[in-house]
Symmetry: C2
Subunit: 405 residues, 2 copies
Amino acid sequence: MSDRVPPGFGRDAEGRLLIAGRAAEDWVADAGDTPLFLYDSALLSQRVAAFRAAMPQGLGLNYAIKANPFPPLLAHMGTLVDGFDIASGGELALALEAGVAPARISFAGPGKRDRELEAAIRAGVLLNIESAGELARAGAIADRVGQEARVALRVNPPFALKGSGMKMGGTPSPFGVDAADAAAVIRQMQGRPFRFEGLHLYAGSQNLSVEAILESQRQTIALAGALSAEAGVTLAHVNLGGGFGVPYFPGDRELDLPALGRGLAEAIGDRPAALGRTRFVLELGRWLVAGAGVYLCRVIDRKVSGGETFLVTDGGLHHQLAATGNFGTVIRRNYPVANASRAGPGAGPLTVVGCLCTPLDRLADKVDLAGEPGDLIALFHAGAYGRSASPERFLGHPPALERLV
Amino acid sequence: MSDRVPPGFGRDAEGRLLIAGRAAEDWVADAGDTPLFLYDSALLSQRVAAFRAAMPQGLGLNYAIKANPFPPLLAHMGTLVDGFDIASGGELALALEAGVAPARISFAGPGKRDRELEAAIRAGVLLNIESAGELARAGAIADRVGQEARVALRVNPPFALKGSGMKMGGTPSPFGVDAADAAAVIRQMQGRPFRFEGLHLYAGSQNLSVEAILESQRQTIALAGALSAEAGVTLAHVNLGGGFGVPYFPGDRELDLPALGRGLAEAIGDRPAALGRTRFVLELGRWLVAGAGVYLCRVIDRKVSGGETFLVTDGGLHHQLAATGNFGTVIRRNYPVANASRAGPGAGPLTVVGCLCTPLDRLADKVDLAGEPGDLIALFHAGAYGRSASPERFLGHPPALERLV
């Protein structure tokens, strides 16, 4: 397998990788060191624009901060999307610091602590309620602080998003309330200090099948209609989840966005009458930001062992755990990788490893790259679940640098 | 499967878990919050004492900092072991801050940067050289700073430690120099600013078979003898690696330390004549510290979904990634787990999850525990590869607290 430079990046006449129109080596010189995560703001903007162009008018777009909470990136995303989904009190603080209005923030997570619930209620953030127990705690806190809590109910759907990297429906789950119990929990909100706004359903993530995503969206809309009728409530909004996948691996293809948009427009057009005035929202993290990110590390050593060639870099799983296959992956496959200092194949396949003293630290297996000490190696699709999802302190190396460009 | 409280811990009359003789809840009250890692210094001391009692006299014991770099724990280990193995410039700084003399520190790692080599040479730390390229860089730095570099050669053994959690020999590897090339690299040291001290070999880790460990130690000693003869050098020391496993999973049994000690004494007794004055060293991380650590988190919610009961805690993979099976594990199994607030089984099996909004965050599957909101849950064998090997910033929750008691 030779190198793979995804769309949005190029090479100059000398074969050096260009990121946002500038050589990777120049970005590193500016930042002062490697490893370095670069996020291209123009690619972020283009991604959201492509989404808006393809999706039905009026569809809301939320960014799930967990995918990448780098503050300059959050500030940029805040100018592009309608809302932010947070998963902790720490992410609430990051969203507020990025200048996002609390009215645009929604908070999901199965283990919200009382202090997190209180901070969210005080700020006026929407709580996606995950259980009857959490609802009772939120009610007690709302009583105590004398402030109504904005709530939606997170429902564990009785169907999965088929073929997802992570299934989050159709199975017993710590997330949300089973659909069969949802109406009863909504009724428990009555007469209590809650403003009920709608539903949150999340059936799976990292899916590359248009048909599977559309099927789960159609099922979600039907379920929302049924629950609205069963509980006798109006739904101001329904969060349909996300699930849009990223083509990390050889053979993967980008989602057909226009086909997705047409299908979702049709599903919304056919919605039950009870949802006539409901606003629908998609919640995307990885799909919005992964492709805009590149992780750059430098080759420290080239060596041959047992006939196999290794490039040892100053990067590794402490910055890019997911790319090494050590984060929820059963079979390790390569993310797109290229030599950022020179184009073309090398003298045969080689293996790119990180600097950590563990065999887990493998960035690319048997790729046909050129590579000498001093070269920069680029790992693509590095904009999501990179630095913030990696064990940064493991083995005591410095953190990676990050820049939004 | 019911709860498993390993040796070294107990319960008081009310069924509360005792750690270092005191109720877990009292330790949490002292620390001020959960989640909390507690490391029992008496158990650390006992572990080292058991090692010394079983192993041949004169055998050196190094602690591999990567297993747990918590500074108070390092300071305690410094009083017990002979040397520290480090894997980065960051770990060098930690070791020196813990008061360890540089002469007792050795530095392995396939991607040492020039600035790390320079810091180690200036401090007088032993470098385990990983390649001919690294040797050349170390030599240039030693020339420049006008100081001899203490070096050992790390050799990639042509055999594996059979049945290890991680194999680090018998295969092409980024670690060390293939045995076939070792003598040539040792010869390159001659006439250069190096003081050659010996060899470092590491064939695998997390192994629970006495026979497999002994076989690899015998092979290592034989290989060291052959290399000493081939290169025409005396070996002041040979680091035999480690590989001692910890009984994480149901059915696992503690290593038979006396049997290991007897076998190693025999292997050293039978060593080649060329190694007559060689000092042998074992390098252990996980085995020394895992059992002394407990990770305590608190139950936030108890819920039923699809007939399955979940305890949602304030802990999770952001602190204890390895326990969730998301760090180099193919099949997830439970670490020992118990309710620290009350003894006895519950009303049937339940699943303990963390607070993160991802299905990866699962701490224990289908264990028969009691568990209500407010209870403390204890995960054992948490002293190694816990906080420092976990993606602490993932989802923006606060770091776990740590205490040496």
